[in-house]
Every structure is written in structure tokens, then in C-alpha cells.
């Protein structure tokens, strides 16, 4: 039994226009998302092939080449056997506009034999109770997104695939959805969160895969992607003395504009070393490289045609 919930090997998708022009949306993508819960980011700029990859995984599009597995089962061949464990929202929510939110969920629940109680529970989870009898077309975008998430919960999934779930939401809606995603990840559900919003992935995800132009650029835990060590900005009354103490302790501080920049595994390490020497910190701030910088570095390099494939952080 594979310990990966999602696994793709050499996945490729080509589209051909009516004039015969070939466009490659996904180019030999190897994607691996481990099981065991948590939120895995699927990061890439618009048009990088995220949605196409998701649509192929869910049987909505046929791959040109490559293999895909969900819960170790080859898809799309065995998709009917595993689809009951997969909840998904692909792009914008798609429901019958003239049916109520409740009716839409009832129809989907009916298709898999889910009880009516599961519809009520899902509506309650996404806080649509009270509006469930209104027509879907009268819903705000946020309500539509919440209804789409409710639809995924009808199955009590082990894997949740969410494609840009916060698109078009107001800040309160975004926070609500992110909290829901974090809670689901913490509850043991593995969530694949596709997004082009770097801050979102950094805030919500424990691991991530970055793609650009349909190719894998990097994959790993968020910390791995950002590098194992972290730099800190250290402000002390006597920077020279503090630098000597830190150097003797095996760290390598550097002076930048009157403050120290120090690489360390944990901030407590710096606090302890300086405290034991009687040097008290005025400020200790992480100088963490953020995902945005890393992402831009990868995708810009990819656009320039450089080989940026990062294997050090790959989890596959």
C-alpha cells in the first residue's frame, strides 16, 4: 500500500487548437503528496498547469502521457473505487443556478447514497444554514465557495483537493476558508491546496509543490523549501562583544547596519549563548526568507529557461 495519496509520474497534457497548434499545459510532472493529513500546497503562477493537473487526477481531463495514482490506485482506471474518498472543488463552484443550495447538495448526495443528514451537517459546517433554501444563483461568491466545500464534505473524504478556494472572497471569507482548511488538515484529512497566493500557502500549508510552465520546480516541506537554517536579526547594546561570544559558540554573525545577522537552528540558541555571557537582547527577529522570494526566483528562472529543478527538497 502506497503512503502517497497522490502520485503522478511523467504526467503530460497537450492541447491542440483547431488550427493544429500544440500547447503543452503539463510537461512530465512528477507530483507526490504524502498521506497522513496536513495541507499540501500546489503552487504556481496562473496558467502553470495546476488546474489541468487536478482535472486529470479527477478524471475530468485525459492525460496525454504519464501515470497517476490516488491512494495507490491507478486513475482514471480505478477512479470509481477511490472517488468516494476524494472531495474536490475545481476552479469556480459549479451547481445548477435555479436549484437551492440544499437541493444541489441533495442531488449530489443522492448520487452516492449519502443520507440527508449529511447534507444538513455539511451545510452547518460551512455555515450556510438559514440560506440553504435560497436559489444558488442568489448566493454571493463566498457562499458559493462554501457550498462547494460543503459538497466535498458529503463524502467525508480522506483527500480534499481545493483549487483556488479563496478566489474572489472578502478578507473575512478568506480567513474563514483558511481556518476550515487548516482544521481539516489537522483532523487527518490530506488537503491539496492549489493556489497562486504565496502567503496563503505559507500560512496554511505544511508542505508544497511548486510548478511553472507545467513542470515541477520544487517540492518539499515549506521549511525545506525555504532552507533548513534560519537567519535572525539580533539587536544588543554591544554588538561587537555579542559577535565575539556568538563566534566562539560556533555561529557566524555578520554586522549589518549596526545590528547582527546570525544563522541558527533555533532562536533559543542565540538567547541562551548571549544570556550566559551577560548580554541581554533588545530585539530578536527572524530574517526568514519567505516563500514569495523563493517562488519568484524559481518561476522567473524557469521563464528564462534555467535549470532550476530543486531536488534537495523533493519528497518524492
Amino acid at each position: 500500500m502506497s503512503d502517497l495519496v497522490i502520485e503522478t509520474t511523467g504526467l503530460r497534457k497537450e492541447f491542440r487548437s483547431l488550427r493544429g497548434e500544440l500547447r503543452v499545459a503539463v510537461q512530465g510532472l512528477d507530483l507526490a503528496v504524502p498521506s497522513g493529513g496536513g495541507v499540501h500546497g500546489f503552487l504556481g503562477p496562473n496558467g502553470s498547469g495546476k488546474t489541468t493537473t487536478i482535472r486529470m487526477l479527477l478524471g475530468l481531463a485525459r492525460p496525454t502521457r504519464g501515470t497517476m495514482r490516488l491512494f495507490g490506485q491507478p486513475v482514471p482506471a480505478q477512479l470509481p473505487q477511490v472517488i468516494g474518498r476524494v472531495g474536490a472543488v475545481v476552479e469556480s463552484p459549479k451547481f445548477s443556478p435555479n436549484f437551492s443550495g440544499r437541493r444541489n447538495l441533495q442531488l449530489l448526495a443522492g448520487a452516492i447514497g449519502a443520507p440527508t443528514a449529511s447534507v444538513d451537517a455539511a451545510l452547518e459546517t460551512v455555515k450556510l444554514t438559514g440560506r440553504e433554501k435560497d436559489r444558488y444563483k442568489s448566493y454571493s461568491l463566498g457562499m458559493k465557495q462554501r457550498l462547494a466545500i460543503a459538497a466535498t464534505l458529503l463524502k467525508t473524504p480522506d483527500l480534499l483537493i481545493l483549487d483556488e478556494p479563496t478566489n474572489g472572497l472578502d478578507p473575512a471569507g478568506i480567513r474563514e476558508i483558511r481556518e476550515t482548511i487548516r482544521d481539516l488538515g489537522a483532523s487527518g484529512v490530506t488537503v491539496l491546496l492549489s493556489s497562486h497566493i504565496l502567503a496563503e500557502v505559507q500560512q496554511v500549508c505544511t508542505s508544497a509543490t511548486i510548478i511553472g510552465n507545467g513542470k515541477l520546480l520544487a517540492s518539499g516541506t515549506v521549511d525545506e523549501l525555504l532552507g533548513s537554517g534560519t537567519a535572525y536579526r539580533v539587536v544588543v547594546p554591544e554588538p561587537t562583544a555579542a559577535a565575539d561570544v556568538l563566534t566562539r559558540a560556533g555561529l557566524a554573525p555578520s554586522h549589518v547596519d549596526g545590528v547582527l545577522h546570525v544563522e541558527a537552528q533555533r532562536p533559543a540558541e542565540i538567547t541562551q549563548i548571549l544570556g550566559e555571557s551577560g548580554i541581554w537582547l533588545t530585539e530578536l527577529t527572524p530574517l526568514r526568507a519567505d516563500l514569495e522570494a523563493y517562488f519568484l526566483q524559481l518561476t522567473e528562472a524557469e521563464e528564462l529557461g534555467h535549470d532550476t529543478h530543486d531536488t534537495t527538497g523533493a519528497i518524492a
Binding site: 475530468l60 472517488i83 435555479n98 449530489l108 448520487a111
Partner: protein, 328 residues
């Protein structure tokens, strides 16, 4: 599969456009039936009294009386040979106005309604409307994008297609069957109330013709559904159907193929259990003259084969397309 059928039935019957189409499919046959009953109703006493008045008034006209006298004077010339025994009665019948000249009415005939009248019209209306229901049902799913959502819950595409198609066809067939049954039973009741004979299996023949028509309507619904699943748009499917019906007739006429390939004739043959048509054939015994128009009968079996083949073609193309193409 039964779960999917239940879901698709709910989806179909909860769709407002489909409900409107079904309501229209009841309303139009009702109007046709009422019009048929009214147009064939016997004249009222008032109508007859009015006719008698007109007869009396016109009979008194000098010109009419002169014609009557001439007939009485020279019956051989005016009535021809042999001269009837009752010359006066014959001359009055021929040269005096008659009540039926002033009250036009056509007696209700179930056989006539079945073969050339309102029975055919009802079936054609039902076939068009159920086809529209089939296209709008499938087209709405594509337009709203909910097909992809449905496939996230049931990824076996042939099963989804079959469930939708079965519900569209079944509902169209049952609904049309109900409408035509009600139509013919009501016409039968009216005929009975007017002492018009409906025995010798005539009413049953009409009902059977209606049920075959309901089958045609079910097939039309399936064809509309299959085409919409193929083109993924109600407008595109209806456009193709319209273009095919207009251009198809023109092409058939231009290339001069036998009427036996005309879909309309084949539909008529299914409804009426065979249909007469005219074909060009060498004139018997006198080939030099050229071609003569010969009456032939298109049997129902051949019509079913022709229409069924077309339906199977649409269905297979639609199903294969749905199975293979990416779903937006």
C-alpha cells in the same frame, strides 16, 4: 444505477424550463382537441332555424323560382335522363337552396383524425416539445458546468450518460403516452356522445397509433438529448436540427432521392403503421413514355429500421464523445 436514475428524475422534474415545456405539451393538444370537437359539433337548433330562414328567403327570390319553373317544365333538360318519378322533389333539391348550404359542419371522424387530422398534429407537437425538453435538460447541465460536479461524485461517464438518457426517454415516452391516451379517449367519448360509431377496433387503432407516436416522441427526446451531449450546447443542438430539417429536405429534393429516405415520411409510417408515398417508376407496358408516378407503401418495419439506425448513430457518437472528451 437506480440511485442515479432517481437523481436524474429529480433533476429533470425540478427544472423549470422542462416543466414549462411539459405544460405546453399538455396545453397544445388540449387546444387542438377542443378545436377539433368544436369544429365538428353538430349544428344547434338556432343554427338550423337560421338556415331555414335563409332557405325560405332565398327560395322566394324570383330568379330562383324561375329556375324551378324551368326545371319543372323541361325536366329532361335540367335533370337529365332518366327523369325521376318525383320531378318536383328532384327539381326542388337541385334548384332551391338547401339548409346545409347555410350551416357548414364536418362530422367527427376518428379515422380521419388519426390518418390526416389532429392525431398526427398532436404527435408532432409532442415530438418537437419532448425533443426540446431533452436538449434543454442536457444543455442546462453543460451551461451551468454542473456536469463536472456530477462526475466528481460518479466518474463512470457511460453510467451518467445512460441514467440521464434513460430518464429523458422514459419521461418523454410515458408523458406522451399519457397525453395521446387522454386525447383519443376524450375524442372517443365525444364521438360516442354524438352517436358516431367507434367500434370495430377503431378507437383501439387510434390509441395504438397514438402510442406509436409516443414512442416517436421518446425517440425525439433521446435524439435531442444525445445531440446536446455531443455538442454540449442547447443552441448548437437545436441549430443543427433546424439546419438538418431545412437543408436536408432541400438536399433530398435536389438530388432526387426516393421519398423513402425522407425522415418525415418514415415518422408518418411509424405513427400510421405504414405510409403511402409516390415514386417514379417506368410506366408499365410502355417504357418509351418515360417514368410514371407510382403509389407505394412504406412499411412500419422499414421506417423503424431507418429511424432507429439514425438514433443509434446519434447515441453512439454522443456516448463516445462524452466518454473521451475532457469535461470543462
Amino acid at each position: 444505477m437506480s440511485r442515479l436514475l432517481r437523481v436524474e428524475l429529480t433533476r429533470l422534474l425540478c427544472r423549470r424550463a422542462v416543466l414549462v415545456i411539459l405544460a405546453v405539451a399538455v396545453a397544445i393538444p388540449t387546444v387542438i382537441g377542443v378545436a377539433t370537437v368544436l369544429n365538428t359539433r353538430p349544428p344547434s337548433d338556432a343554427d338550423l332555424a337560421y338556415a331555414e330562414e335563409q332557405v325560405a328567403a332565398e327560395s322566394a327570390l324570383p330568379g330562383v323560382q324561375r329556375q324551378l319553373e324551368k326545371c319543372l317544365d323541361n325536366p329532361e333538360r335540367f335533370l337529365g335522363r332518366p327523369v325521376p318519378d318525383d320531378v318536383r322533389a328532384a327539381c326542388e333539391e337541385n334548384y332551391l337552396p338547401q339548409p346545409e348550404w347555410f350551416v357548414y359542419w364536418e362530422q367527427l371522424s376518428l379515422a380521419e383524425e388519426r390518418d390526416n387530422g389532429s392525431g398526427l398534429a398532436v404527435v408532432i407537437v409532442l415530438a418537437i416539445l419532448t425533443m426540446l425538453a431533452g436538449t434543454t435538460f442536457a444543455g442546462h447541465d453543460w451551461a451551468s458546468g454542473s456536469v463536472s460536479n456530477q462526475l466528481l461524485f460518479e466518474p463512470r461517464r457511460p453510467l451518467v450518460w445512460a441514467a440521464k438518457g434513460a430518464i429523458v426517454t422514459g419521461v418523454a415516452g410515458l408523458f406522451s403516452g399519457f397525453v395521446v391516451t387522454a386525447y383519443w379517449l376524450l375524442l372517443g367519448l365525444v364521438a360516442g356522445s354524438r352517436d358516431i360509431p367507434t367500434g370495430d377496433g377503431l378507437l383501439l387503432d387510434c390509441l395504438q397509433s397514438g402510442w406509436r407516436g409516443a414512442g416517436v416522441a421518446a425517440g425525439a427526446a433521446l435524439a435531442g438529448f444525445a445531440l446536446t451531449m455531443l455538442f454540449r450546447s442547447t443552441v448548437a443542438a437545436l441549430g443543427v436540427l433546424l439546419a438538418a430539417s431545412v437543408a436536408g429536405g432541400i438536399v433530398l429534393a435536389v438530388i432526387g432521392v426516393d421519398s423513402v429516405w425522407n425522415p418525415g415520411l418514415n415518422i408518418g409510417a411509424v405513427i400510421l403503421d405504414g405510409a403511402k408515398y409516390y415514386a417514379d417508376a417506368p410506366c408499365p407496358g410502355n417504357e418509351e413514355v418515360g417514368f410514371c408516378s407510382v403509389e407505394r407503401t412504406l412499411p412500419i418495419g422499414r421506417a423503424l429500421w431507418f429511424l432507429g439506425s439514425g438514433l443509434v448513430l446519434f447515441t453512439v457518437a454522443s456516448l463516445a464523445s462524452f466518454q473521451r472528451r475532457d469535461v470543462p
